[in-house]
Symmetry: C2
DNA sequence: TATGTCATGTAACTGGTTACATGATTGC
DNA sequence: GCAATCATGTAACCAGTTACATGACATA
């Protein structure tokens, strides 16, 4: 069954609802919370996607008990649709790495500023590793059939962050010495 | 000097012209060729960016010798502008990893299809490593002050591709056995 | 003289973000 | 009663892609 050209927002929305029925507002929170380290959706996308999914019969709206809003739950056709979407080939997003763009033209920028960029990247990688550790702790308590799959996404993040950190260290070491005083780096040897 | 909110297309365009003056058409080819493994621009972006840069005095247009079009070269203000742009903090692009999105909901998709996704990723990582090796060979011949910086971007790609390949292997091994006959995976033991 | 490549641009569309408008419910 | 949060949406905008229109030059 070919799936008509679609944004992956639908996948994220139906996927999140496959775990648990919830409101659009909670959906956003869940996407930030659970998928945040590798996926992102904005409000402006979620509600229209939800409306389309409702029109297509993929989700059903139930009046929420004590709260004002409504709760959306995945229907059987919706689950089937989700399976189709997940089976779609992964389309590679066009690469746009701002760090590498700067480093590529590093000789215009100077070694000192490049080292700063690399130090930044290294630090962010370290912070990412901490958040992954926290996610791992949370996942340890849960016991659902999806857990092994969720863990895969965490180990991906960890592996990439560790590699990034190591590369940033090595790269900074491989950079030429900075002879330019305007960037404020200390000279390699002491002055009298 | 704060740089007004800008797209990074300008950085790529001015950066490429800092290496060598060329036409808009050649610029596109150079961006694909040299930055292709971590950056991407389309025609629809390049010409407007070039026109804006010309209006701002960052590039100068010279009549091309034997060809019909013109050749753009970076001016001194343009080089200064490029330095400012490169010094801008790297803004993290909102994460959108289609592979992880699929794996996260892997229990809906089934282990067999997940293994296929991982095998795909592993193969693409292997192919990427080959193209990096080719880039390395090309860079070996050149001798310009930017070479150490360009090599950094290659080693980044190599490190990430190697990590991706290894993770994909480990992940496939960690997946539960596939008991679902509809996905067409062979059973772990022989049948009588 | 036909074909391919170099070359320059524009217009329409798409996907996505941001900011705003609006109101219900809950807890203090 | 007031503030915070839950909740649902829309409108305007922006970045970026795709497809198209156009033509010069080289060469077979």
């Amino acid at each position: 069954v070919p799936v008509a050209r679609t944004s992956q927002t639908e996948t994220a929305v139906l996927g999140a609802l496959s775990i648990e029925p919830m409101s659009g507002y909670a959906l956003r929170a869940a996407i930030v919370e659970a998928l945040g380290h590798f996926w992102h959706e904005s409000f402006g996308q979620i509600y229209p996607a939800l409306a389309r999914a409702e029109a297509a019969g993929h989700v059903r709206r139930r009046a929420g008990g004590r709260t004002s809003g409504s709760v959306f739950e995945l229907t059987e056709p919706g689950r089937s649709r989700l399976r189709d979407l997940l089976a779609e080939p992964v389309e590679a997003a066009p690469a746009r790495n701002g760090l590498l763009l700067r480093l590529f033209f590093g000789d215009v920028l100077g070694p000192g500023a490049c080292r700063e960029l690399l130090a930044d990247a290294e630090q962010r990688a370290g912070e990412a590793l901490e958040t992954y550790a926290a996610i791992r702790r949370e996942l340890a308590d849960e016991d659902d059939p999806g857990r092994p799959y969720r863990l895969l996404t965490v180990s991906y993040g960890e592996a990439m962050a560790r590699t990034l950190r190591q590369w940033a260290q090595d790269a900074a070491a491989a950079l030429p010495e900075d002879a330019d005083p305007t960037t404020g780096w200390p000279p390699p040897t002491a002055q009298p």
